[in-house]
Symmetry: C2
Subunit: 319 residues, 2 copies
């Protein structure tokens, strides 16, 4: 029987899952609701049923060798989802231990950005790299850092929190309780805040002025930038500047071969890639100049999360 | 015969070398001048002679199994000293290749901060740690970062340049060509610059006001702080604040178990340790609070550099 794994990506709203072989072929995929389950037990029941159904649809030709899970605040060492602000289940959820009552096979958990990095390394643009960084630009900013072919988990499993590096002293309020964190400037919500700041500061005409804060999306700003809207273009430039300068510091610490930008905001293409690259280069120590690539993910966004979680468990199984 | 290695620390002025066994016992040590050799060949000749003499003094009871070298801008991957600003030999010096004509045994090179980290891990305060950081506070600021039991060299061997993280936009001119680098604020020379800034800003009496810039040392400022000199105390507070805030960001990326402060400035004890710890804690993401130790080196400074270089080559030999 062909060995496969289940890759599971737990998001605040939906959970995606798929059956993946060692080569990264996704046999079948589905999703279930995360947000409607107030109770972790009922959620896990439905998740286990969904995994079994995916396998059953393949008519017994596949053997499930392990399960990889990416989740917000997922702790690799402990297998616990710890105080995830965007999930209904509060406190410490010993996810791996609990899920083992449904499947007695290797189960590994990490956070979504680390899973994205593993997906990139096993099936995406980092296939021949040992030192690289993946930055996920969604509602927040996540980072998965790979050194010497391994994800950096650190002493307690929580390394890679680049979104909470301070970039402006006493800057924007962050959901984490601190002020001026990178993700309050560089993320889908960060660029919306920047656009509003710019509309207050400047007098340029802009179609963005007709959209209320709650409705404005990063996609709106990207569309406006495509029409050469000056507020939108400036918002991308400022976002790219903040990220580029931070990456210059990050390069000095890690000396990666490449940095991948992934998710929401990275779909704006040159609007974001160009300023990130330019401001990073401008702020780099000379020994790193013109060496570090800024790349889009080599995975398609539709199944990247599932592939990342699958990569996590394959790496564990293959050692 | 007992197997030993030679640990060599190349500094701008002196080169220290010693014979060290696997347990970190230093059998014998000496030093030669670095700065008087304008020519790399004559320097290397003298260094090789010094290593042979150290061994000979032990009357044939020791077998030399390898040589570890710590040097400014030493590149681990290439075995090359690359454009070291404080050495006489300019450009790229293929040190390992050249030294192999003197000794046909394993020879490994890295920079001084990475060597310090390896010394800490093998013989010092990090003996049971897999994730920690060593910060060397000398004329500049160096960092050796250990993740998962291995020094982070990065893609091209130059990771760990924490001294050149930007902490003040358009801040103090750094020797690297950039402005506002951490080491222009946090180092023996950085605190002197801070003391002068404070003497200009404030009106407090201070014995430091009688010392010209070229003469003032970090030790003078530390001595003045011991006498409750307000300029000196404030200089330490500001230095600790800048380092503590930077470390909060570094912790978010690496999640280390401990951070060791080593060299010159760290000898000021509480004057520097207290503010570093306090400002780091204040700026940490909540999941890291009260978890990360700030520690003095577990090695005595007299032979720490030699032990670090010895640790480098022992790690290579032992695998």
């Amino acid at each position: 029987m062909k060995k496969v794994v289940a890759g599971i990506d737990i998001g605040g709203t939906f959970t995606k899952l798929g059956i993946v072989d060692q080569e990264g072929r996704v046999y079948t995929e589905t999703s279930i609701s995360t947000v409607t389950h107030k109770d972790i037990d009922s959620y896990m029941e439905q998740l286990a049923t969904a995994v079994r159904k995916l396998l059953k649809d393949q008519q017994g030709k596949l053997e499930l060798a392990g399960i990889g899970i990416g989740a917000p605040n997922g702790n690799y060492y402990r297998g616990v989802i710890e105080y995830a602000p965007n999930l209904n289940w509060k406190g410490m959820i010993p996810f791996v231990e609990m899920f083992k009552t449904h499947f007695d096979i290797p189960i590994v958990l990490t956070n979504d950005a680390n899973a994205a990095a593993l997906g990139e390394m096993m099936y995406g643009g980092a296939r021949n790299m040992t030192d690289f960084i993946v930055i996920t630009l969604g509602t927040g900013l996540g980072s998965g850092i790979v050194v010497n072919g391994n994800v950096v988990y650190g002493h307690d499993g929580f390394a890679g929190e680049m979104g909470h590096v301070t970039v402006v002293e006493n800057g924007r309020q962050c959901g984490c309780g601190k002020k001026g964190c990178l993700e309050t400037y560089v993320s889908a919500t960060g660029i919306v805040r920047t656009a509003f700041e710019l509309m207050a500061l400047r007098t340029d005409d802009s179609q963005l002025r007709s959209i209320p804060f709650e409705k404005l999306s990063a996609k709106d700003i990207s569309d406006a930038a495509n029409r050469a809207d000056r507020i939108a273009m400036k918002a991308f430039d400022m976002t790219g500047k903040t990220l580029g300068k931070t990456l210059a510091d990050v390069v000095a610490l890690f000396s990666p071969e490449a940095i991948f930008l992934f998710g929401g905001l990275s779909n704006a293409g040159d609007h974001i890639f160009k300023p990130v690259k330019a401001y990073m280069e401008k702020n780099l120590l000379s020994i790193f100049r013109d060496k570090v690539k800024i790349l889009p993910s080599g995975l398609t966004e539709t199944n990247a999360a599932v592939l990342g979680s699958a990569g996590l468990i394959w790496k564990e199984i293959l050692g």
